[in-house]
């Protein structure tokens, strides 16, 4: 088990390194001019040169890659000067002469627009997106499993067809369409009756500081949950039907167990395996899917910030968000794999 964990962590680490390299080459090696993105078109050559030097753009591509990795790595070697200390905000571990081995928060550089640290901005916004994704997943899981069980128990009746048809519609609706329709219908048309807002973030800065508006979570979470909901319904239904046709269910019924005991204790427990796989797989991609939902509902999370940065050509934030979401993917995958290994010994042996 220990060697399995070590192997999994090592491969996850290698994937993150690979992702950094891919992102670096896509964003830095492609034609594009970060300097004019930063200061606009109208500027003199001296300023441009200074900025190029500060961003390290005057160096060769491998040297830039090295600098990039040094900035990102939590443990790295820097020069022992107050400027560097202020730039990276590090804690020194070991000193040798001029340079120092340090421990720091990954330095994702500074925003072109506001000159704030990208890691600060992302850390602030990420939590809102994670709350949104978890709420959506919670909603989708609870409603999806119950609807799926219901459809399986009433197979080939009106309700079964109704649920399955609607889930197909749910899968094929793009998230921005669903978001704009939900926002329009529940937020504006029914808004006064339901007390919901068409747009709004979880925290609203009012006259007396930040206020928590939990009702603003409902519509985005509902919208974001539609797709996973539809998929969970179909998965639960098909795996439930498969389990219900097996022999041990008949045995359980023949022993005289009550209907609900057979369904929930014998059938549902076994039917949920593939569903849990799907749920864990979806959790990471919900983080990415939240981008458009956040944009339309004006929910000021990571996705809103990123799309705003995309419009402002704020490159460091865009790269930072890509890296963060990618590492989230990798971490979630590692956790899921470890859980599998814990539950199913066959995975470990492979």
């Amino acid at each position: 088990m220990l060697s399995f964990i070590a192997k999994r962590f090592f491969s996850g680490f290698m994937i993150i390194v690979g992702v950094v390299i891919v992102v670096f080459f896509l964003f830095f090696a492609l034609p594009g001019d970060p300097v004019s993105m930063m200061v606009g078109q109208r500027t003199d050559d001296i300023t441009r040169e200074a900025i190029r030097k500060e961003l390290g753009l005057d160096q060769s591509l491998p040297a830039q890659l090295y600098l990039y990795f040094r900035d990102l790595s939590p443990v790295s070697i820097h020069k022992d000067t107050p400027q560097e200390q202020q730039k990276y905000d590090y804690t020194s571990l070991l000193c040798f002469g001029e340079s120092v081995l340090v421990l720091k928060v990954p330095y994702l550089r500074r925003s072109f627009q506001t000159n704030r640290k990208v890691s600060e901005i992302i850390g602030e916004k990420l939590i809102l997106t994670v709350i949104l994704a978890l709420a959506a997943m919670f909603f989708a899981t609870i409603v999806g499993i119950s609807l799926g069980v219901m459809a399986a128990l009433r197979q080939n009746t009106f309700w079964d067809h109704f649920i399955v048809t609607n889930s197909v519609v749910g899968i094929s609706t793009p998230s921005f369409v669903a978001a704009s329709l939900v926002s329009l219908f529940f937020g504006y048309m029914l808004g006064p009756y339901l007390g919901l807002n068409g747009i709004g973030s979880l925290f609203v800065t009012g006259i007396d500081g930040r206020e928590l508006h939990l009702e603003n979570l409902i519509l985005p979470a509902f919208t974001l949950g539609i797709r996973p909901l539809a998929i969970i319904v179909q998965l639960t239904r098909s795996s439930m039907l498969e389990v219900l046709s097996q022999d041990y269910i008949r045995t359980a019924k023949a022993k005289g167990l009550s209907y609900y005991k057979v369904i929930f204790k014998h059938a549902l427990k076994n039917a949920l395996n593939p569903v849990i796989t799907a749920i864990s797989g979806w959790l990471a991609s919900l983080l990415a899917g939240a981008f458009f939902v956040e944009r339309i509902f004006d929910y000021k999370g990571l996705g809103y910030e990123t799309i705003q940065a995309v419009y402002n050509l704020d490159l460091p934030i865009v790269i930072g968000a890509t890296l963060i979401v990618a590492s989230f993917f990798v971490v979630v995958n590692i956790i899921v794999d470890l859980l599998y290994a814990l539950v199913d010994p066959r995975v470990r042996l492979r």
Partner: protein, 334 residues
Amino acid sequence: MKLRNDKILWTISFLLVSVGLIRWSGWSTSQISLTNSYLPPFQHHLYWLGTDRLGRDVSAMLLSGYETTILISLPIMLLAAGIGIVLGGLAGYFQKVRIYLLAFLLKVIVVGCLLWEIYITIEAASLGNASIYGWLFICLLGLIWAMIHFLQRKWEKLSFWAFYLPVDQLFIRLTELLSSVPRLVLILCLATLLRPSYFNFGFVVLITYWIPAARLMRAEVLRIKQQYYIEAAKANWLQDFYILWKHALPNALPTIRISFVFGLASLIILESTLSFLGVGLPPETVSWGKMIAQNYQDGQHWWLTFFPVLGLLLVIGSLHYLADYWQEGGRKWW
């Protein structure tokens, strides 16, 4: 769900007929008539689905947006599936490839020169000063490549720098790497950095969209390799590429086409999402995503949002329907 063939036919004809319809109908998407702004649908004999704020015809914009969607998504997806089939098939069939370093390096150098020479010659030809020597040089390089290729067997004794290139492992690592960068985020970010154009859009999309088809193809080839007919083909001294093309590919296609259709649906969603955000495609393109983006907050004039949404749902729904038909064991190609 029980599916009937005639429904599938309806789906396909719906998808195909509407592509050329805008050219044939003679409607225009750019004609503005301010006297006819915000006409409701089904009331005017010219504007069947109503008009928008500038008096442009919604039905024409709908058809034109459909054409954009299909003409962008279909070629990109075909290319992506092609790349996926080739890479996945090669990875699945040749698990490891024995490589003789010297011959391999020579070949790489020759092929590099060849490609560069072809590029230069074609560029010169397109500028109008083509020369026969360029083409002769290309032929010469080709000859050198063939010589290396056929003499390789003799060099084998000389060259002891032979090693196994784990093609399959490399393939698995590459797909794992590319699929752990979230597709939508990557595409969104790249689409903003590059200038909006069809070519850049295709490039950005292709980076990730070949992966599902490639994975499926690899799994299929691994399955097919175990079959007796492949063994028989090998026993008959057929070439590896011939076996791949003639025996493995036709047996893998029925599975690949499902992933193709799902990929197409997801690409259509992606295209409309990006044009909803106003990113990626040139600004003058008419697209459903853009129609929705311009009008979705306008509850009064419902037809401006309703028809593009309906169109998107119909197209994506019918593609899912087709995939369902194949998944449930339908054998026909339509």
